[in-house]
Structure formats: structure tokens, C-alpha cells
Amino acid sequence: MARKKLYFEDVKEGDELPSFTIENLTRTDFVKYAGSSGDFNPIHHDQTFAEVSGNPTVFAMGMMNAGVLSRLVSDYAGLENLRKYRVRFATRVWPGDSVTCRGKVTKKAVENGEKIIEGEIAALNQKGEVAIQGSFRAALPSRG
């Protein structure tokens, strides 16, 4: 099952990363991420605790959304080529929300002999509000 490899020569500034949407995130999804990450902050799975903390219900861990968004970059540039991944948390993601991940290449350069691309990425909810804003940097192989 060979993956489609991205080469430095194939990329130009402004290129869009293939976007995708995860539909209808559920409380069960949050609980799965709690288990896999060890993040058992009750605000993400306990309705009573969430309400006492002033929330209508539980909401997704920011790092879960950051994990969902990371696939945008690893699918595009290759997991092994990733050099930097950065996220800033904005709006929360609630049960029933959908998350659309998209991004574009903002820079292409050769630095210290490495063929580098950088880009901006974002995860948005179904209303178009930004849940996460981020950036990445990857070093790509060359056809040459």
C-alpha cells in the first residue's frame, strides 16, 4: 500500500492541502480520546461537572481537535517529513459539531540544504468559526 509521496518540486506557495470534514462528533468520541490521551478532566465527559462549571454540556479537548487537524498535515506532507506543528485554541467544539480541516502552503524555501515548506492550517466548525488555528513546517524529499 504505497502512499502518494509529496516531492518539493510538486509544491508551490498558495497550494491548498486536501481538506476533509469529520461529521457529528459525539461524547463517545471525547471519551475515546480521554482514554487514549489520559486526559480525564471531567469537564470533557461528565455532564454534571460541566454544568457546575458553567457550561451547557461537555466539550472536546483542545488537543483532540489538534489531533484531528494533524492528519491534514501528515497526509499531505508525510508524517516522517514533519518538522514543526503548532496550534492555537480558539472556539470550543461541542457534541454534534462537525469539524472541517483545511490549510495552504505559505512558504517554500531551501534552508541549510533542507527543502522546506511551511503552511497555515485551521479547523472550523459547521458555522465556519475557527476552533483551532495553526501552522506547520516540513522538510520534503526532492525528485532530483
Binding site: 480520546y33 489520559g38 483532540m64 489538534a66 489531533g67 484531528v68 498535515v73 503548532r86
Partner: protein
């Protein structure tokens, strides 16, 4: 409240073994079907072994009993996770044993909107593998808001 005197504080080193089963479970929970996380043979042929997803190192934050995190006085009712950044310096593979050391690298203030003055605490976690190579840096920004935030 956190202040500049916290800069330089270091937590206890934490050792974590990178396990293929945990990587698989984590990949499933972020809805990533990439065969590199599930099929050892594919991963070996393509990238030299099973590597963790980009945000996997965050699991360290919940791995130990909290001693790895340097102690900084913060009001938990006013704390938000603002940013997270990962730098990947060398490949990490399932089977590696990493040692993580977390240090407070910056504390600064900003005047915000409804939250009043916000205090930013930046912590760097450096991961070293069993060969003594520095493989990754995870940088987290925690924000202590001026007032209790409506969550």
C-alpha cells in the same frame, strides 16, 4: 499567580516507553486511518517503523503523577490551554524509551479584553531517546486570565 521568578523551574525527568498499541489507540481516537499507525510491515517499509501521530507526545502530560511539571502557582479556575507546539528533531519509533524534562522558559503578561490582565506561562518539554539523542520539543502555553472565565 505565576511571575518571572518561575522562569527556569524544572520538573523531574519522566521516562515513557513509546508503545505500538498506544499509538494505534491514539490514532483511532483522532479518527486517523493512516495504515502507518496500524500496520507494522507497511510502516517499516515506508518510514522505518511505527511512528506516533504528531500530537501523541501530549500524552506525557497525563502519564506521570504530575512531578514532571514544574510547580507554578496558578488558579485552576482561571487557567486555559492557549497554544501547543511540537518540534520534531529526529524520528521517534514504537519501542523507543524517551526521557522528558519540562522547564518553565517564559512568563509574561498581556492586557486582554474581558479577562483583564492575562499571565502567559510557557513550558518546554525536551524529549531524549535511549541513544541520548534529542528527538522532540513540546512547547505549551498556559494562560491565567485576570478573572474567572465563563467556561
Amino acid at each position: 499567580m505565576a511571575d518571572k521568578s518561575d522562569i527556569g523551574k524544572v520538573g523531574k525527568p519522566v521516562t515513557i516507553r513509546i508503545e505500538a498499541g498506544k499509538i494505534r489507540e491514539f490514532a483511532k481516537s483522532i479518527k486517523d486511518q493512516n495504515p502507518l499507525y496500524y500496520n507494522e510491515n507497511v510502516a517499516k517499509a515506508e518510514i522505518g517503523g511505527v511512528m506516533p501521530p504528531p500530537t501523541f507526545l501530549m500524552t506525557l502530560a497525563h502519564w506521570d503523577n504530575g512531578e514532571g511539571r514544574p510547580h507554578v502557582e496558578m488558579d485552576l479556575r482561571r487557567v486555559l490551554h492557549g497554544e501547543q507546539e511540537f518540534e520534531y528533531l529526529k524520528p521517534i519509533y514504537a519501542g523507543d524509551v524517551l526521557t522528558a524534562v519540562t522547564k518553565v522558559t517564559d512568563v509574561f503578561e498581556k492586557t486582554g479584553g474581558r479577562g483583564g490582565t492575562m499571565t502567559f506561562v510557557v513550558m518546554d518539554t525536551e524529549f531524549t531517546n535511549q541513544q541520548g539523542e534529542k528527538v522532540a520539543i513540546s512547547r505549551g502555553v498556559t494562560i491565567e486570565t485576570g478573572q474567572v472565565v465563563a467556561r
